[in-house]
């Protein structure tokens, strides 16, 4: 999970119950105007990245297959299957392409995400 940025206040928003999100699957959440894709891994680790697939332009990353490439946890865009590193947002298949990364955590059985 990305560290909370130093010196900035962060507002956490609860988006759903942890057990409503299947392990190794994502869900999209709307925070203000920002679409966030939240993923739960098999060990309950949570990640949040932008939902927009920068390569196709569609808001679909939350619907991709979750897996690993080497040791890197990734989501594969459901549009054309490029891999995105869930920890950094970097696209592993197209150099220079990244998506935003947001802090995500579980508190009292609820998944929370922070969007600046």
């Amino acid at each position: 999970m990305p560290e909370q940025p130093r010196g900035e206040t962060v507002t956490w928003t609860a988006i759903c119950q942890l057990d409503h999100l299947l392990p190794e699957r994502g869900a999209a959440a709307l925070l203000g105007d920002t679409q966030v894709a939240v993923f739960r891994l098999h060990d309950n680790q949570l990640y949040a990245i932008g939902n927009g697939d920068p390569l196709s332009g569609a808001q679909v990353l939350s619907r991709g297959i979750v897996g690993t490439r080497g040791d890197v946890p990734v989501v594969l865009s459901p549009m054309h299957k490029q891999a995105f590193d869930l920890r950094t947002g970097a696209c592993l298949d197209v150099p220079g392409v990244t998506v935003p990364v947001y802090p995500a955590r579980c508190r009292d059985g609820l998944i929370e995400v922070a969007v600046p």
Binding site: I15, A28, P54, V60, R63, I65, V66, T68, R69, G96
Partner: protein, 787 residues
């Protein structure tokens, strides 16, 4: 294209981001593949032709629809109509324009050039309802334009002033053979003829494809021009101004312009290298070309005339080959291939060295690239030599994806991929059948492991015989295997996480993130009441409606959260999932058969309905389509399907292995004059044997080719493997176990909860999805043009 290659090449080298790049483009779209322009008329979209995905390369600023109109060399400034840009380095990649010969009335409204997607749109708009077209120019572009007009339904004539077609690439004999093949397509060819007045051509549409001229207007700022036009540059691509470079068709390298993309790409790499401190210069460009024009392979490479010619000319098969050798016949200088260019990659790579095989074998094509020297260029798009290929292999690139990633070989036009594969084999590397990095097994092996060990989940399987947590290759494949072995509903428990987005939402993902909905209409037979329900659902949910090629109605534009409500209506009216989203049986198409047709000899509709219902929901390595024709007239196109049935006076003929996707294939006759019971038994075994033994995403066409028809017949009729009983039982379990997937979802609140655009705002639609209206129906607003 060359400009895009330059910005990508610069981004790759300029790791410290010393350069900020602004691209000024005349067209309103990013770079696209002009080499494949004609594919636009075959249904390939402008988007599929793009070479420049949004955001690539990162950091470059693209100004579209705003061409540079002037340059001030003294102040190092470029101006467009609207603004001006200062520069430290200016790279001109303005390309070329179509040359229109000085012909009377060449500016008439029915005259066009063939250069941009806008040109193609204009031709298409004008050709509607017209009958005759003439293409002026019988070169590469002229043949492409002729094919385009043909695809638009015009009767076509080519007028070429040289004595034969493709005068720059092939010789007289090759041109004559090409002409015969073109004429066989009902295209008239007049060679050795000039055009004086467009009015003489007597055509509804005239397309000029008579060559190109460099776009060098910006040279008026004080840059030197080549004698035949183009910005004059030295072999480093530098113009007469020390801060201005030119690449591609607008550049005259030592006075010579090159009308092919490979030399342009090489120039882009040279300038990117120079701007990042390198010292590369342009080698003599490789002018080799290989094209498929009007379905005819044409290739030329190296020198096309020389001291010793060896010619092979077979008018019966329409194959022509000419190899040019040194007078001692020891060194290959170049050659021409028409009709069959399969030896092209090996021959092109051998130019400058000994022949890669015996002369007789090479002329008959398909030669193995044994003995290529290390200096041989194996990929001309990216200038990769066999030596650098072998270096990559030594560095651990042991399969094609790794070779592509490491050397870029094979990522351009793709024509060298077969050569790369045989070079890998030659290097002693056995091509892996591993499904992906997580499983060192093929799909067939995993199928057996799951079955024999009785494994029920992906987690069990990956823990037992795999590594990591899976990917888009192995997860759907394992989901399919579990479904084939009776794993329950595809969205039950952990299985839901394995499914690709289509299976996960039981609908087909479209380019804008919406889904399409396809109810099953077995064999295309539907009652008026059900047709009305489909119409009402489409109207009430605002869906775009299209009849598919498989005799179904496709409803487009549904948002995720609308899917359950749409399916509630459809299920209530008696519809089932059409499985259009799955690697599964799609449709069994039919003609009307002997119920209505005066030629029909059997009830094709009744059989097609029975087969579609029998195999509905059957998951397979790839999607499966089928058809039943009621007589040999074949109105259901059964031989273009994975399995097809054609009625005879005595029963049914069974064909298998058709379709084939991007490599279309007609099905082969497996068995003839079958009774209905025998037919169903053999189709059962054919399908189940395929489901259990094919590779991931292997179509029946390739699977059947690999097995051989005789072997397949032995297995499913003679039962030589002793598996028939097992296959029969497996199919019986599938048929008995069928449950409509959508009905099961509608009955399950936990599954329904996943059908939302936003988990924290279940009733809010995705605000980025919006539609416009075309021909009376909603269509997505293209994401790239959204404000």
């Amino acid at each position: 294209m060359v400009g895009q290659r330059f910005v990508e090449a610069l981004a790759a080298r300029d790791v410290d981001r010393n350069w900020a790049v602004t691209v000024l483009a005349e067209e309103n779209r990013r770079a696209y593949d002009r080499v494949r322009l004609s594919a636009y008329f075959e249904g390939v979209t402008a988007e599929e032709l793009t070479l420049a995905p949004p955001g690539v390369p990162a950091g470059a600023d693209f100004v579209l629809g705003e061409p540079a109109v002037s340059v001030d060399l003294a102040s190092r400034t470029v101006r467009t109509e609207a603004q001006s840009f200062g520069y430290d380095a200016l790279v001109l990649a303005t390309g070329s324009r179509a040359f229109v010969p000085p012909v009377a009335n060449a500016d008439a409204p029915h005259c066009f050039v063939y250069r941009t997607l806008d040109d193609l749109d204009a031709i298409r708009a004008h050709a509607a309802g017209k009958r005759t077209g003439v293409v002026v120019g019988g070169g590469l572009l002229g043949l492409e334009a002729a094919n385009a007009l043909r695809l638009l339904g015009l009767s076509v004539r080519i007028v070429e002033h040289a004595p034969h077609l493709m005068p720059l690439q092939v010789d007289l004999a090759g041109g004559a053979l090409l002409r015969r093949r073109v004429q066989a397509l009902d295209i008239a060819v007049d060679c050795g003829e000039g055009v004086r007045d467009v009015a003489d051509l007597d055509a509804d549409v005239v397309v000029f494809a008579a060559g190109i001229r460099a776009r060098d207007e910006l040279a008026s700022a004080g840059l030197a021009r080549g004698e035949r036009g183009g910005f004059l540059v030295d072999p480093t691509c530098l113009t007469s101004d020390p801060a201005v470079w030119a690449i591609g068709e607008c550049a005259a390298v030592d006075g010579v312009t090159y009308g092919l993309v490979a030399p342009g790409y090489a120039m882009a790499e040279v300038v990117a290298d120079r701007l990042t401190g390198g010292s590369s210069t342009l080698d003599t460009p490789d002018m080799s070309t290989k094209l498929k024009l009007l379905g005819v392979d044409v290739a030329s490479f190296g020198a096309t005339t020389g001291p010793l010619d060896v010619v092979y000319n077979d008018p019966a098969t329409g194959v022509y080959a000419k190899l040019v050798l040194t007078d001692d016949a020891q060194t290959l200088l170049g050659g021409i291939l028409v009709g069959d260019a399969s030896a092209y990659p090996a021959l092109r790579a051998s130019v400058g060295g000994p022949l890669p095989g015996t002369l007789a074998d090479l002329m008959a094509s398909g030669a193995a690239p044994v003995g290529l020297p290390d200096s041989a260029q194996v990929c001309s798009c990216h200038a990769v030599t066999k030596g650098s290929f072998l270096d990559a292999v030594a560095d651990g690139c042991v399969d094609l994806p790794a070779i592509k990633a490491c050397t870029k070989a094979g990522t351009g036009c793709g024509s060298c991929v077969p050569l790369l594969k045989s070079l890998l084999a030659e290097a002693g590397i056995v091509q892996s059948t591993h499904l992906c990095e997580h499983f060192a097994y093929s799909r067939q092996e995993l199928f057996d492991i799951v079955r024999v060990r009785g494994i029920g989940t992906f987690s069990e399987l990956v823990t037992a015989v795999g590594t990591g947590r899976g990917c888009d290759l192995c997860k759907p494949a394992v989901a399919s295997i579990l479904a084939s072995l009776g794993g329950g509903h595809i969205l039950d428990g952990e299985q839901a996480a394995l499914q690709d987005t289509n299976d996960h939402f039981l609908a087909n993902l479209q380019k804008d993130g919406t889904y399409s909905v396809v109810p099953r209409v077995p064999a295309g037979e539907i009652t008026p009441e059900k047709l009305i329900v489909i119409g009402e659902v489409a109207r009430d949910f605002g869906l775009y409606t299209k009849i598919t090629g498989g005799q179904r109605v496709d409803l487009f534009g549904a948002r995720v959260e609308q899917l359950p409500a749409i399916w509630r209506r459809l299920v209530d009216a008696g519809f089932e999932s059409g499985h259009a989203y799955g690697k599964a049986l799609r449709t069994v198409k039919s003609c009307v058969g002997d119920t209505w047709c005066r030629y029909g000899v059997q009830d094709s509709v009744g059989l097609a309905v029975a087969l579609e219902l029998r195999y509905r929901g059957l998951r397979a390595p790839h999607k499966i389509k089928a058809a039943v024709s009621g007589c040999a007239r074949e109105c259901a196109e059964a031989r273009g399907k994975d399995f097809g049935v054609i009625a005879t006076e005595n029963g049914w003929n069974l064909y298998v292995g058709g379709n084939g996707g991007f490599r279309p294939r007609h099905a082969d006759l497996l068995l003839s004059d079958l009774s209905t019971a025998d037919l169903v038994r053999y189709v059962d075994r054919f399908l189940m044997f395929y489901v259990r033994t094919a590779d991931r995403l292997q179509r029946t066409s390739v699977w059947v080719e690999n097995l051989g028809l005789d072997y397949l017949r032995d297995v499913i009729v003679e039962d030589t493997l002793g598996v028939a009983e097992d296959l029969d039982a497996a199919m019986a379990r599938h048929v008995d176990g069928y449950v409509d997937e959508w009905r099961a979802v509608l009955d399950d609140p936990a599954k329904l909860r996943r059908f939302v655009s936003f988990v924290n705002a279940p009733d809010t639609p995705d605000p980025t999805i919006s539609f416009t209206v075309e021909r009376g129906q909603p269509v997505p607003i293209s994401i790239g043009t959204r404000p």
